[in-house]
Every structure is written in structure tokens, then in C-alpha cells.
Symmetry: C2
Subunit: 277 residues, 2 copies
């Protein structure tokens, strides 16, 4: 496994690689969700590459950039068995003085996470665009847990005709259903105990749609809200039912529908989703 901190270093190494490259962009503090992506990247390509970069431009001014968990030594140990190349640049390497270029997907970034976190996706698309240009992957792997991020990055790649394929991998969960996330580390023991309520609410929706044939978003939302409200530490930010491609809200679960939610436990925002219908 080669660990490289400079863009020039990655570009030089990349020019010598003959074969396909599977790439997993991360912000580090890796968990089983990341590892499943890296394993898939490795199994489907001649080389696997992982970036570790806590991207400042995707955090809002009141968000957790400074406190976002970091542990490079542990991350590298975790990656060692599955990874050929690690790109771990500094902020200055990615955003030198006078940096001034931005990639923005409009429309689908105005809703859901984009509505609550203005500028977030502009930071995501800009850094992912840069990472793709640096690593030049054949395929890049993202987790379904960040459903809107997946939709936004797919849209960027399609609109800008970028020469790679986006592969979406299933959300990896703790045994009690909580979706894996580096931010789960923020939860105190009590919050952690209540956090699987997001998964339970999604499973409730799944039973209603798949087993009971319920199509009414109003009915499903009500049942989900009731269930989450039984968890006293949980504060619902949104529960959304949206067309899985356009991310426009729907009233009936007919086409593939992205049911996504953000729920706060104290200051910690958790997100989760399922696609049904």
C-alpha cells in the first residue's frame, strides 16, 4: 500500500498503472461501510485507491469541520489489506491560496440535505470533481446511505461527461440497524441506544408499502413519525418521500421512491434512507 500526500505524486503513480482503478473517496475515520466499498473496489478492478480528506468546503460555518473525527494511523491500518493506493492530501494541497473554481449541480441540491446545509453539495461536487481528475478512476464507489450525495455525484458525472462509472453500494448497518457513520461516534450511550429508531421507521415504511400495499405518503409518514416520537431523545428534522431520480417530493409511493430522513440526537444529525416502490 502506497500512501501519497501530493497531487503530483498521485498523478505520477497513476500514469504508470496499467489496468483499471477502483476509487473510494472518504473523509477518513473509517468504518465497515467504507471497508465494504473498498473491498468491492478491489474485487472489481486491477487497483484500489482510497482518498482520506476532510473536505472543509462541504461544511457550513456552524458545522462540525473542526471536531470531525480523525485518526489517520488507525485508518491506514484498516485499509492495508484491501488498498493499493491511499491519497491523503493536506487542505493546502487541495485548496491552495487563490483557489477559485467551483462545480455546482443545481436543482436536486436545493432539497433535503441541500436545503438544510446550503453550500454543502457545492463543496462535495467540487472536491469529488478534483479527486476524479487527480486519481482518474475507472469506477468510483459510494454508499447508498448518503442517497442525495449519490444522486448529485451521478448527475455531475453525467452532465460533465466525466470518463468514469459511479457504483452505488448498500448501506452497512450495526447489528441493531443503525446505519454506519463516522458521526455515530458523537452519540452518548443513551443517544446511541435510541439511534436505531431511524432504521425501525424505515422498516415500518417497508412493511406498509411491500406487505400491506400502502401507497399514501401521508399514511406512511404518520406511522413513521409516531414511531420516532416514541423515542424521547429523537428530534425529527425531516422525513421526505421523493422521486429517486429527480428528488421531487411525491404523494404516492408508485415509482421508485426515496424515503429519507434526518433526525437529531442532541447536536448530532443522523440520516438514513430506503428506496421503495
Amino acid at each position: 500500500m502506497k500512501v501519497i500526500e501530493t497531487i503530483a505524486g498521485i498523478k505520477e503513480l497513476r500514469s504508470t498503472l496499467k489496468g483499471t482503478v477502483g476509487f473510494v473517496p472518504t473523509m477518513g475515520y473509517l468504518h465497515q461501510g467504507h471497508i465494504s466499498l473498498v473491498k468491492q473496489a478491489k474485487s472489481e478492478n486491477d487497483f484500489s485507491a482510497v482518498s482520506i480528506f476532510v473536505n472543509p468546503t462541504q461544511f457550513g460555518p456552524n458545522e462540525d469541520f473542526k471536531t470531525y473525527p480523525r485518526d489517520m494511523k488507525r485508518d491506514l491500518e484498516i485499509l492495508e489489506p484491501y488498498t493499493d493506493i491511499v491519497f491523503a492530501p493536506s487542505t493546502k494541497e487541495m485548496y491552495p491560496e487563490k483557489y477559485d473554481t467551483w462545480v455546482e449541480v443545481k436543482g436536486i441540491t436545493d432539497v433535503l440535505e441541500g436545503a438544510i446545509r446550503p453550500g454543502h453539495f457545492k463543496g462535495v461536487t467540487t472536491v469529488v470533481n478534483k479527486l476524479f481528475n487527480i486519481v482518474l478512476p475507472t469506477k468510483a464507489y459510494f454508499g447508498q446511505k448518503d442517497a442525495q450525495q449519490v444522486a448529485v455525484i451521478k448527475k455531475m458525472v453525467k452532465d460533465l461527461n466525466m470518463p468514469l462509472e459511479i457504483v452505488v453500494c448498500p448501506t452497512i448497518r450495526e447489528p441493531d440497524g443503525l446505519a454506519m457513520s463516522s458521526r455515530n461516534t458523537y452519540l452518548n450511550p443513551e443517544q446511541r441506544k435510541g439511534a436505531p429508531v431511524l432504521y425501525k421507521a424505515l422498516q415500518k415504511a417497508k412493511v406498509m408499502v411491500t406487505d400491506e400495499g400502502e401507497k399514501s405518503v401521508a399514511e406512511i409518514r404518520l406511522a413513521m413519525t409516531d414511531l420516532i416520537k416514541k423515542e424521547p431523545l429523537a428530534n425529527i428534522e425531516y422525513i421526505s418521500f421523493a422521486d429517486n431520480e429527480t428528488l421531487k417530493e411525491v404523494h404516492q409511493v408508485k415509482q421508485p421512491t426515496l424515503i429519507s430522513m434526518a433526525v437529531k440526537f442532541g447536536k448530532t444529525r443522523l440520516i438514513d434512507n430506503i428506496v421503495l416502490g
Copy 2:
């Protein structure tokens, strides 16, 4: 010479090419300026590629998108001796329904042409980013005549770490000094006769700086303005003295200074520039 109208077609062809590709993006209606770029692309690479696409997103609502001169048959005849691949997509091919992704360089696009043509450079960087992703050139060639465009595209490539080199080629001129431009065709015979005044004013600046050692922007601007005002059909839009990299206005010609101007003849805007100091 292969003429291809689809993105998929170019991507397929590109994947078979072994060697370097020199690329010249154009809006067609080709003149000697374009040809000089294509010749250089051909001489420095294994393959030469030219795109012909009148990009709607770089025209303002009151600009000349509809009347911009087009002659595909003539363009292809001109390119034949020097060109391996022509990419001539439709507007729908480049901007399909629901297109929603934009690449924007901030800062240096706020001045000069960017100040007068809001949104122009956002359209330029977006289409050039797409074309680079489609053609995957080793080097791309641009004319110094569009000095700010050159600076903006260089900045985009640098900031987004795009894997190619930008080559800037000298402005090609008519025998009387008028910089070649597809828009010169808009000039009536009288306007055409007056149009070399832009070049004359730049030459005046060159003599003052190089031969006479003049450094004062105020003095040089005055002399240039006086000279242009002697041409009754010419209306000065701006004469700018800017740092050649940051495009910030300067008061003294010490560092490399981009002297650029826009002058209108009737409805036709002509631009020209020189770098001095």
C-alpha cells in the same frame, strides 16, 4: 478525417487512440487564427481533434447566439488537411433536457469581458470542461486574442487538477493588423476599414512602454484613447491595464501587464490585447 456528432462516438474512438491528442475547441466559422491552432496541435501530437460547437450558454440573452456565423461545410473543408477528428455535436447532445451542472471560476471572471458579459465565462468553463472530459486531450490550444478566456481556462484546469496542458498561441492578424475573429464578418466595409485602430492603439502602447520607457498607465491610456477617438466609427467600451495573471488593474506597467480593450463598431464588439512589461 472523422466527423463525429455524438459524445458516445467520440468516447469510443478516443478509447482506441494510442498516443497524444492535441485539441482545439472552436465555435466554427473558422479563420486563419483557428487554423494556426490546429496546425500546432497536429505538429505537437499524434492526433489532432477539433470541436465545432456554437455554445449557447456563453451567450447573454441580448447577444448574437442566433446570428453567430455558421458554415459547417466550409469548416470541414478547411480542417481536412490538418485534422484527424472533428467533434460537431448538436445543442441537445451537449445540453440534454434537465442539464443542471455548472463549472465556475470566480474572481478573475468579474472583470473585463466578464463584467460586461455576465455569465459568459460560466458558459465557457462549463462547455470546455465537458469537451475536455469527452475528448480527453493531452494538450488543448487557445488563442491569445481571447486573453481573459485563456486566463480563466488555465485557472479552471489548475484548480480542478484536470489532466491536460493548456497551450496559448499568438493572435493571428489580417495584413492591416486587425485580429482575426469570426465576428469580423459582421463589419460593413466602412467599419472594417476603421477596425485596425485597435491594433494601432496597442502598437502605440508598445512603442511607449518598450521604446520610450513610459510606465504610467494614465499616460498610455490617454494616448491610446486619443488615437482611437480619431476613428469616428469606433466607440471604446473599455481599455484595461491588468496584472496578466490576477487580472487586477494596475497603475504602472512594471510586471507583465495585459493591455486589453473592447471597442464597438455599430453593434459589433471587437476585442484585442497585448502583454507588455
